[in-house]
């Protein structure tokens, strides 16, 4: 079972990113669950979402304690939440940031999701949309296929810029 924990702030689309990832994995022919952990639903508060992917039906509902991958959509969350807690020794990290990022002991990938969203004018209620570009980054890392990412995004969104954003992140991320 492959376990992903996504850190974001309310309104940035972390919950939707989890659902998109699960849907893409499902379109890859695998079993997947997406479970957000909801606090009080308010914009700006730290939000954690979980995705599990497996080749067998998934019966676990509890929160992920030892993720294989941590995705950080907003680096400011790192000041208030221990985002690397429980990360497996060989676990990887994806950070929405410009320039190279390093997390001691873990393969770390940075991709400027905010820049991609802004360049496509993918902004809702003042927030750049991060949940569709991040799927492109996750496809580049081999977690799901890019075909399934496109399919998943098209199933949930009609605006074609979302798929374009995912492709841009796919190209930008250096595995």
């Amino acid at each position: 079972m492959y376990e992903v924990r996504i850190h974001s702030r309310g309104g940035q689309g972390g919950v939707t990113a989890a659902r998109l990832l699960a849907l893409a994995a499902f379109r890859d022919g695998r079993y997947a669950t997406a479970c957000p952990f909801y606090g009080a639903e308010r914009r700006g508060a730290p939000v954690v979402s979980y995705v599990r992917i497996d080749d067998h039906p998934i019966r676990v509902y509890s929160q992920i304690r030892n993720p294989d991958l941590v995705v950080i959509l907003d680096t400011s969350v790192m000041d208030v939440v221990d985002v690397f807690q429980g990360l497996k020794p060989d676990g990887r990290v994806v950070i929405n940031a410009t320039g190279t990022q390093e997390v001691a002991g873990h393969a770390t990938y940075s991709v400027d999701l905010t820049g991609i969203a802004l360049s496509l004018d993918l902004v809702v209620a003042g927030s750049p949309i991060l949940n569709t570009p991040v799927l492109g980054a996750l496809a580049k890392m081999g977690i799901v296929s890019m075909d399934s990412v496109k399919m998943a995004i098209s199933e949930m969104f009609t605006d074609v810029r979302n798929v374009r954003a995912a492709k841009a992140a796919y190209q930008e991320l250096v595995p």
């Binding site: 989890a18 479970c35 909801y38 019966r59």
Partner: protein
């Protein structure tokens, strides 16, 4: 069609297939998605139904009662405080023998203000005459909602059915979902006592003690008959659509020396604990209680039992454990866990089994000697 969906969306999708004539609802977290999705189906024309947005849950159930008594198929959804607010009408719906189907997304009651999963809300409605089923997966939420209409509307039942799913843990979790077209599995609703202007009759008038007593006995008689109707419905569902359900869901139960009993998503999480315990050489199994009303007859003899209650009756005990004890001569280890969404993992459940103390009640994470 094969897709993935949240528990909420699955319930709404099931309602769409069963085509109620009236949905009356008031949104309350965490079920809001259900009634939002149904409103979208109505707006898009996918569901031809009268959607009545009301000003409270009490009015939602009152509107369902008014619609149902005309013979219209009727649905609503609620949660927690919404269910508490409609309590008076919940009783009325059963007493009036109306086959209303309601989804309740289980959530704790305040204060303290808390939106997370707990079963005390619906278990406080256990004496109202509603049938109650508790589901543990998105697929089961879908299938149970479809079957609920057929069971409620069966003329040997004619009682409302409440489909219960855990708040957030299931209502907001995305899982695999296979949708279906029920076809004549759900025949048109026929309410024998529907109001009819050609045959005027009085409804809800003062009822003397003798008649009232007989009406109550008739509810209980139907409740007892409902177990057979549920079994028949689930069997036909399995034959036609390929997924089997029963009053309980057994997992590695047959040869188990120790059995974990739970409801909702904790019953599913328990299965992972059972596999772990089996690997350690402990012959464990689990029972997920699905139908709480009518309460199932079980053969539990000769095994150690660990009952997990995500609910509580203050001054008495865990409601599931006490219900099992009153029906069967058993002395389980009762664990009160998961109240207000408390995190309970399969590892925790495995330790409940390893450290069980038959006859005792343990409040998980709070105290070892309550």
């Amino acid at each position: 069609m094969l897709t993935i969906a949240t528990g909420n969306k699955a319930v709404a999708a099931a309602v769409k297939e069963v085509r109620p004539a009236v949905v009356a609802a008031y949104p309350i977290t965490p079920q809001t998605e259900i009634v939002e999705q149904i409103a979208e189906y109505v707006t898009s024309g996918e569901l031809d139904c009268r959607y009545i947005p009301v000003e409270s849950e009490h009015s939602a159930m009152a509107a369902c009662i008014g619609a149902s008594v005309t013979g219209a198929r009727t649905f609503t959804a609620t949660s927690s405080h919404g269910l508490m607010y409609m309590h008076e009408m919940v009783n009325w719906a059963a007493g009036a023998r109306l086959p209303i189907v309601m989804a309740n997304v289980n959530r704790a009651l305040g204060p303290g203000w808390n939106v997370w999963a707990e079963h005390t809300d619906s278990l406080q409605e256990r004496d109202t005459g509603w049938l109650q089923v508790y589901v543990s997966t998105v697929q089961e939420a879908y299938d149970a909602t479809i079957m609920a209409f057929r069971i409620a509307e069966h003329h040997d039942v004619l009682l409302p059915v409440m489909v219960n799913l855990d708040g957030f843990v299931l209502s907001h979790s995305m899982q695999r979902l296979e949708t279906l077209h029920p076809g004549d599995f759900i025949p048109p609703m026929e309410l024998p006592h529907a109001i009819d202007t050609a045959h005027p009759a009085g409804y809800g008038t003062l009822t003397g003690p003798d008649d009232y007593f007989r009406f109550r006995w008739d509810i209980e008689r139907s409740m007892r008959r409902s177990a057979g109707i549920i079994a028949g419905t689930e069997q036909e569902f399995a034959d036609r659509f390929g997924r089997s359900y029963g009053p309980v869901h057994e997992y590695r139960f047959e040869d188990a020396d120790v059995v974990v009993i739970a409801m909702g998503t904790l019953a599913k999480e328990a299965e992972v604990a059972i596999d772990k315990l089996r690997d350690e050489g402990i012959r464990a199994g689990s029972l997920g209680i699905r139908w709480f009303r009518p309460f199932p007859d079980l053969d539990l003899g000769g095994r150690d039992l660990v009952v997990i209650d995500r609910d509580y009756s203050f001054g008495f005990g865990g409601i599931l454990a006490q219900s099992l004890k009153s029906k069967h001569r058993i002395d389980p280890y009762t664990v009160i866990a998961g109240l207000g969404g408390q995190e309970v993992t399969f590892d925790d459940i495995a330790s409940f089994v390893r450290e069980r103390r038959p006859g005792e009640e343990h409040w998980f994470g709070v105290s070892d000697d309550v």
